[in-house]
């Protein structure tokens, strides 16, 4: 991970190409712009559709810009859209997701950072074995572990509750986060740790007073990774919660793909946009750190 991110920061060297409008350059930028349009298309379509009225949608096509901008679909998606008999909109899912997100994020990062710290500075017999199992576990299809976790949660009395889902997110976030922190703490000079040991600091004191303040950038990366990951989760949400505690993605799917009633495409698209908004904001705000997070996620093992 370390060399990947280091290289990402290096700008291309050498002199700039001389001719700006050579044939090659036109081809290059032309291709890039065409591809960009393909990538931006769904966002554009969602946005345009969500601010049109239903009559306008029926007359036109998905790409036509809105003649009359209305924010009614957004309001409706937020507070009135129906899932089954409940008609309180996506807001319920949003708040559920927030309630799931915050504790899972805090808990998983707290546990994983201590794990990573223990694994890089306080190795004990068997620690590498557990770590290897943990990393291999990240490759096991979730389907293989779904039912045992149902039993586990039922035994703990957490099935269907938000705390249950928090626990699941903590478990499945652990491999990648532990790896992230372990690699980071391993890159901190060992002399620092040894000096603290000589001065008589213990496990927690070194963690809180030396490691934690130095690891702030990696904490930000971990937060980005977890916020987008947990917010976008669908599988665990649909299995380990009940309709009252459904996270936003599950509720969104239920709203849009419900069979009864007339399809209100504008409300559906507004709801889709609303669900995508949180990770998008994180993405655009975090910039390079997001890339760093996924680069870390990419190089498992």
């Amino acid at each position: 991970m370390a060399d990947m991110t280091a290289n990402a920061g290096i700008e291309p060297r050498g002199p700039k190409p001389k001719k700006t409008f050579s044939r090659g350059n036109i081809f290059l930028y032309g291709t890039l712009i065409m591809v960009s349009m393909y990538y931006l298309l769904p966002l554009y379509v969602m946005l345009v559709t969500s601010v049109k009225g239903m009559p306008e949608i029926r007359l036109g096509n998905v790409f036509s810009p809105p003649l009359e901008v209305t924010f009614e679909p957004w309001v409706k998606a937020w507070s009135e859209a129906c899932t089954g008999i409940n008609c309180d909109g996506l807001s319920r899912g949003f708040w559920n997701s927030v309630q799931i997100l915050i504790p899972s994020c805090v808990l998983s990062i707290a546990i994983a950072s201590v794990n990573g710290y223990a694994l890089s500075n306080w190795k004990f017999k068997g620690s590498e074995v557990f770590f290897t199992i943990l990393i291999l576990g990240a490759f096991i299809p979730y389907q293989t572990m779904l039912y045992p976790i149902v039993i586990l949660l039922r035994e703990l009395g957490l099935m269907g509750s938000i705390s249950g889902l928090v626990l699941v997110h903590t478990i499945f976030g652990m491999p990648i986060l532990t790896l992230l922190f372990r690699n980071y703490f391993a890159s901190i000079p060992e002399e620092l740790f040894k000096a603290a040991r000589v001065d008589g600091a213990g496990f927690w004191r070194i963690y809180f007073q030396i490691m934690l303040p130095m690891a702030l950038p990696i904490f930000v990366v971990a937060v980005i990774l977890q916020v987008t990951g947990i917010w976008n989760d669908f599988l665990f949400g649909v299995i380990y919660t009940k309709p009252a505690t459904y996270p936003m993605t599950v509720q969104l799917n239920n709203i849009v793909n419900s069979v009864q009633g007339i399809k209100e495409y504008n409300v559906n698209m507004a709801a889709t946009m609303l669900t995508g908004l949180v990770p998008l904001v994180i993405y655009f705000l975090s910039g390079k750190l997001f890339v760093r997070g996924i680069a870390a996620g990419a190089v498992k093992g």
């Binding site: 096509n61 017999k125 096991i140 299809p141 293989t144 039912y147 976008n232 997001f290 990419a298």
Partner: protein, 306 residues
């Protein structure tokens, strides 16, 4: 957790027990140890064991041998799921690698606005599969989407309705999947390209090798580890394919876009046929292992030899 206390007791006599050495680190690692042993190892083993039972509504230990597997491979829906995953997987791997590499190569040509382009190519990756699926479901909508636009241009017999056509539905999913996932591979490839020494380029230029040829004959072979990482990443994503299908087609039309992950979940949580679900998920596990072993061999076995 018995493993944590395995140092022999006789060392305890001589000096402070090794069990208590690093005590805090061991206590702090308990969550990790529990996750690794109970959930990952225990859970997987539990599922594999129960795949040989006739569990239906509740897990039971009535052995039926390989019955569940025989039934699984006799079920049309499973065969369709596997075929779909195969089609989607192979196309997805090829297209993701080709598009990801091409985009990375284009971005690496010392262009302006590089970060703007990169931001655009990567943003879909921040979105969930549910959002991706729903957005593409709407764009591919036959009444209002691409098909209707082209028909409005005067080409009235134009048909592009992948989501309602059993033969092409997987390609409808593929379009959405590629849109979501190529940005990540592009980023990894770009990092790989930036890691290649500028001198290689100079040497190729001196030898008069063209840009495209340099990429194909020099750069790509050099980037083998990056390609392997990308492939493993794509492959592990493909096997998990579930949310996208649920959101975009929900397995339809009919059962023509079913995938194994969806099969497992339907049998476990809706059809109340746990044994089938366990057998199917064990098959998924096997396929992951088949992918992982050559990778681990290449990645770790290769290093020792070289």
């Amino acid at each position: 957790m018995t493993v944590a206390s395995d140092p022999p007791a006789r060392t305890a006599v001589k000096r402070p027990s090794r069990l208590f050495k690093n005590m805090m680190a061991k206590i702090a690692s308990i969550p990790m140890i529990l996750t690794a042993l109970v959930v990952f190892v225990g859970g997987t083993a539990w599922t594999v064991v129960h795949s040989f039972t006739g569990s239906r509504l509740l897990p039971k230990l009535n052995w039926v041998g390989l019955d569940q597997y025989e039934r699984l491979w006799d079920t049309d829906r499973w065969i369709i799921s596997i075929t779909n995953l195969g089609i989607y997987g192979i196309c997805s791997m090829i297209f993701t690698l080709v598009i990801g590499f091409t985009l990375a190569a284009l971005l690496d040509r010392k262009i302006r606005f590089e970060s703007a382009f990169r931001t655009i190519f990567l943003y879909p990756f921040a979105l969930s599969f549910v959002v991706t699926g729903l957005a593409w479901q709407w764009i591919l909508n036959p009444e209002f989407g691409i098909q209707s636009v082209v028909r409005d241009w005067g080409w009235t017999t134009f048909t592009f309705n992948p989501l309602n056509d059993p033969d092409t539905v997987m390609f409808g999913l593929l379009i959405a999947g590629l849109w979501q996932g190529t940005g990540l591979i592009m980023c990894i490839m770009l990092a790989g390209l930036r890691g290649i020494d500028e001198d290689i380029w100079k040497a190729c230029r001196v030898d008069g090798i063209g840009t495209v040829k340099t990429y194909i004959q020099v750069i790509i072979p050099m980037m083998r580890p990056v390609f392997i990482t990308s492939l493993v990443l794509i492959a592990s994503g493909i096997i998990k394919l579930y949310d996208l299908v649920v959101a975009q087609t929900n397995g339809g039309p009919g059962i023509s876009s079913e995938v194994p992950a969806k099969y497992v979940i339907n049998y476990m949580f809706q059809a109340q046929n746990l044994g089938q679900g366990f057998a199917a998920s064990t098959m998924m596990l096997c396929s992951v292992i088949i992918i992982l072993i050559p990778w681990a061999y290449l990645e770790f076995g290769g290093k020792k030899n070289g």
